[in-house]
């Protein structure tokens, strides 16, 4: 009976105490971040450590693995496929990001004008970015089909190509062009819409003052628009660099890395080596080549772009 009394008296006190504890920022804060922290430690940080270990081991699907030092990396550098991939990654990322930047600025400048059907136009421009990439890329595979390519049909009809036109996905340089084109197609909306937001935030008075001083449209673009857009452009380019460098979907669906590895990126080669042939160690070593690029982007973002936040 005494025990029961105690329990009855203790329960409200316990509740009050929990309530008080939850009101302390030092308690509530860690409590609120725990689920996110657990998730990221278990499913991001831990796999990352595994990747580091795999890369220096001879891990093979379904077999115990041993430490082999840097032999995976040495082997990779001796393989033509990897050296080709290394080169592809830079050609692909460099040309796709440059194209998206130039076209993105152009498109954003156009969208920033007084337009009819403004909302519909924005909706149309953003569409490639929201549709599932794997599915829309399938549409491009059909558009680049060797026999029924609508791209070639149009090119021939307009007199731009000699029949039968290039075999887009079957020839080395054309395949790279195709992969870059689809990446630009998908990534352009992100550039255009983000740069547009940057354009809108430039004060009108600057343009009016420059116009009063006799600056033409070209001078205004180089002297006002571009310098003031620089922070936005830096963010967009950094973001896009990491996501273009680590692209998987477009290459996997469009070319599978072919013809003869000419469009393989680190991600697609890692999948082929790590899963299709089972050499997980070597696959993980290939994936890790994304890491320096990631570190650079993180460093640049934290140092230059988000300095004000943390």
């Amino acid at each position: 009976m005494a025990v029961g009394d105690l329990a009855v008296a203790a329960r409200p006190r316990l509740r009050v105490r929990v309530r008080e504890l939850l009101d302390r920022e030092r308690v509530l804060g860690p409590l609120f971040v725990t689920p996110a922290l657990l998730l990221l430690v278990l499913l991001v940080a831990y796999p990352f450590c595994m990747a580091l270990y795999f890369a220096v081991s001879n891990a093979f699907i379904g077999r115990p693995s041993h430490f082999i030092g840097l032999r995976n990396f040495v082997n990779l550098w001796q393989s033509d496929a990897f050296r080709q991939t290394f080169q592809n990654a830079f050609v692909f990322t460099g040309s796709a990001v440059a194209l998206k930047l130039v076209l993105g600025i152009a498109l954003a400048l156009l969208l920033n004008q007084q337009l009819w059907f403004k909302r519909a136009i924005r909706g149309a421009v953003l569409l490639p970015w929201v549709i599932p990439t794997a599915l829309s890329t399938l549409g491009w595979v059909w558009m680049f089909n060797s026999l029924y390519s609508v791209v070639n049909w149009t090119g021939i009809a307009l007199g731009l190509m000699d029949p039968p036109g290039p075999n887009w996905l079957g020839q080395k340089y054309y395949a790279m062009t195709a992969v870059v084109t689809v990446n630009v197609w998908r990534g352009l909306p992100f550039f255009a819409i983000t740069i547009l937001a940057g354009l809108v935030s430039i004060p009108r008075e600057l343009y009016e003052a420059a116009e009063a001083d006799g600056a033409g449209p070209v001078a205004r673009f180089w002297l006002i628009t571009l310098p003031l857009l620089k922070p936005v452009l830096a963010v967009v380019v950094l973001f896009s660099t990491i996501f273009t460098f680590s692209d998987f979907n477009i290459v996997y669906v469009l070319t599978h890395g072919g013809p003869i590895n000419s469009t393989h990126l680190f991600t697609t080669l890692a999948r082929q080596v790590g899963l299709e042939t089972g050499r997980i160690g070597e696959g993980a070593a290939i994936s890790l080549y994304l890491f320096p690029a990631l570190m650079f982007v993180v460093w640049a973002q934290l140092k230059f772009v988000r300095r004000q936040v943390y």
């Binding site: 308690v27 971040v33 998730l39 991001v44 337009l115 909706g123 599915l135 549409g139 983000t194």
Partner: protein, 282 residues
């Protein structure tokens, strides 16, 4: 006077004409996809036919074939289940973390914020190999539940980052008033901050839904049997037998697999535009 108005009008038309190539580039692939899915095979594989139009009677046979002869419904159901569950879970976890990061002072809060930001930038294609091992250890190999568990790894950092920005815009004073009136922190979050941040929550939910519906590499790696795969994987791998492509059905699948996103997109276009810039710029 009249000539100035006219010049302005000509300028405006020229502006719209300059937009045409961009719009054609953005929209033509979708037009061509839809067109292909409605063509009869006879016209589809006729090299003399004009590929930009349908000249013969359009047909729904590719759609019916897709719906009745393939497990397309199962794939869509899987996609929907995985997407809804992982979105909900990530939104809850992300809201809690974002509130703590935006409002509370505690041990190591800033390094946790940096950690969230770094994982936000980690591409899914970096970790899929070791994650496949983890998934196997959890006993989730070749199961859609592997996707429910792994999708939050990229959704939570995204939601947290986006919501943190929205929570910061809620004036501190409003919340402090409630605290002075005797509300607890949890009550203040539920009754004051969250209602004000509803646009942010809608935005995070939309983007989380879109990101997980569109996810491909994890789905491709962690699931393989026909009963477990999602729409994107099913359409890109199961509809292609060897080297034979059934283009009509493939394009029908691509169209139908995009429908949920298109519906959301039509209704919430402005949220997509604002979320895109908020996620990147805040």
């Amino acid at each position: 006077m009249a000539s100035i108005a006219r010049r302005r009008r000509v300028g405006k038309i020229a502006l719209h004409l300059a937009l045409v190539p961009f719009l054609v580039f953005a929209l033509f692939p979708f037009y061509h996809m839809a067109l292909t899915s409605l063509k009869q095979d006879r016209e589809l594989y006729d090299r003399q036919a004009v590929p930009l139009l349908i000249r013969q009677t359009p047909t729904l046979e590719h759609y019916t074939k897709l719906l009745w002869d393939t497990p397309f419904f199962t794939w869509m159901k899987n996609s929907l289940l995985v997407t809804l569950l992982s979105t909900t879970v990530s939104l809850v976890i992300g809201t809690l973390a974002a509130y703590a990061l935006a409002r509370l002072k505690f041990f190591a809060v800033s390094s946790f914020g940096t950690g969230i930001f770094v994982t936000y930038l980690v591409p899914t294609s970096l970790l899929f190999l070791p994650l496949a091992q983890v998934v196997n250890w959890l006993g989730l190999g070749d199961s859609k539940w592997a996707l429910v568990v792994t999708y939050p790894t990229f959704l939570v950092p995204f939601c947290t980052w986006l919501l943190m920005g929205y929570f910061r815009t809620v004036p501190k004073e409003v919340e402090e008033c409630a605290l002075v009136d005797g509300a607890t922190r949890v009550q203040a979050l539920l009754r004051i901050v969250l209602p004000i941040a509803v646009p942010g929550l809608v935005c995070a939910a939309l983007f989380a839904f879109t990101l997980s519906w569109n996810e491909f590499i994890y789905a491709l790696t962690f699931t393989s049997s026909s009963e477990e795969i999602t729409a994107s994987v099913g359409i890109t791998s199961e509809l292609i037998r060897g080297d034979i492509y059934f283009w009509g059905s493939l394009m029908a699948g691509a169209v139908l697999g995009s429908v949920p996103i298109v519906i959301l997109y039509v209704f919430f276009l402005d949220y997509y535009v604002s979320g895109l810039t908020a996620g990147a710029l805040k």
